[in-house]
Amino acid sequence: MSQDKPLNQSLFEAPPMGEQERMIEAILFATAEPQSKKQIEDRLPHGCDVSEALVHLRKRYEGRGVHLVKVGDGWAFRTAGDLGFLMQKESTETRKLSRAAIETLAIIAYHQPVTRSEIEEIRGVSVSRGTIDLLLELEWIKLGRRRMTPGRPVTFIVTQEFLDHFGLESPRDLPGVKELRDAGLLDNRPPPGAVPGVLKSDDDGSAGEEPDDFDADDDDQDDMFG
């Protein structure tokens, strides 16, 4: 990007830390989207210590009306949660999600990366195409890697937008995630032997155990997401 600074740039020393902090403050104030360290670094003069400056800056805004928050690998200023009532005019009506969509989202967040048939196994019903599409459209989920099992099913993971929306630094900060893990409820536990209907095998989205129409759906998906 802006790497092509003149060669003599190394002749200039990095600005003092206070100045670096100011610069990052200005950059993050000016952008609504979280910015990664790399993105910030690219815009600062050579030799800046973005990590350290961010630590200082975060501290500076502690207890203020605006906070510096970490979102995935990005950083952003966000208003303090307790002051939301002041911003009624700004608040946007979020689409009311169906119970299926909310559950599917939660399952993806807690179990990611997770295949569609794993979601179905957990919910006990098939997941409609529309539900997945809606979550993709909201940019709260995206495709992860394909699972290396027969059929190579796609997996879903949550996005930075999801983390930003729910004020999470990482998926590890999901409420109760540790308890769930300790209780073994996030484990992939294959059912013993043959179990009928919705009770499918956990660890693959292989075609074998699914009704045919699921496969058709999955094929469509492949087409869509290449």
């Binding site: 000016a30 200023f77 979020t94 999600l97 909310i102 919910r123 409820l185 009928p196």
Partner: protein, 260 residues
């Protein structure tokens, strides 16, 4: 008011099952129903009695049948499976069967219910969190970063020379190519010529004798005329009009009109 107090346990269970059945559209499949039934046991999900749950579910399916409600296939599949599970749990294990035991199957069902319950709770907790643009807000007046794009064009002397060389090559050799055609005696020309000469070839004669005038001395012209005349002769041999022979390698090629 009063009548309600007189309702016995059995009726209560029946009513509960009935309301479930009537409301079956509100449920998301058999697992959802099972979870609802499990909650009526009012115990920790880990201590749930799968056997009792199976009985409850089968009763629910019975009620649905009585009410002549059509249940989706997966509800019936679950009923069949639970009936099978119930028998496994009640009967002593069959030593010849190496499939999973009733206890294992029951444990897994309990796990599924517990997991679904946990996910529901987690989903609720997630949605209860402060949300962007509802409880906290991003910068309302982002200052656009102006993008300045500098385009640097790259070219070297070599590019320049190659480009120029290409243009010059094109110019230089287009006319030359046309000129070269003049020193070529084409096969069409040779064939035309040979056909007119065939009548005179009653005896064996060498290929050289058939070359056109003015093409014998210049080596370049001779090569071209020899090649095309030979090709024309082969063509005529194929048509059965000529005979061709060569006594040994590099010996002169001789030709004569085909007999008869």
């Amino acid at each position: 008011m009063e009548s309600q107090t007189h309702i016995d346990g059995a009726t209560q269970a029946r009513l509960a099952a009935e309301s479930l059945v009537v409301d079956v559209d509100g449920y998301e499949g058999p697992l959802d129903i099972l979870l609802t039934l499990a909650r009526t046991q009012k115990v920790d999900m880990r201590k749930i009695s799968v056997l009792e749950l199976s009985v409850q579910y089968l009763k629910f399916v019975e009620e649905a049948k009585k009410l002549r409600l059509e249940l989706a296939a997966d509800y019936l599949v679950m009923a069949a499976w639970l009936a099978f599970l119930k028998s496994r749990l009640l009967l002593p294990p069959d030593p010849s069967d190496d499939g999973p035991s009733g206890e294992e199957l029951a444990a897994h069902l309990a796990f599924q219910l517990e997991r679904l319950e946990a996910m529901r709770r987690s989903a609720a907790k997630l949605m209860a969190r402060d949300q962007l643009n509802r409880d906290f807000f991003a910068r309302g007046l982002p200052e656009d970063v102006t993008r300045k794009r500098n385009v640097v064009y790259k070219a070297t002397v070599l590019d320049l020379m190659q480009a120029y060389a290409q243009i010059r090559t094109k110019d230089e050799f287009t006319p030359l190519h046309m000129e070269e055609r003049k020193s070529v005696f084409t096969m069409e020309q040779a064939l035309e010529r040979m056909k007119s000469l065939i009548g005179h070839a009653m005896e064996w004669g060498t290929l050289q004798q058939f070359l056109p005038d003015g093409w014998q001395n210049d080596p370049k012209l001779r090569r071209s005329a020899t090649a095309s005349t030979f090709a024309a002769m082969l063509e005529l041999v194929k048509e059965g009009k000529l005979d061709l022979r060569q006594n040994e390698v590099f010996a002169p090629i001789e030709v004569k009109k085909k007999d008869g």
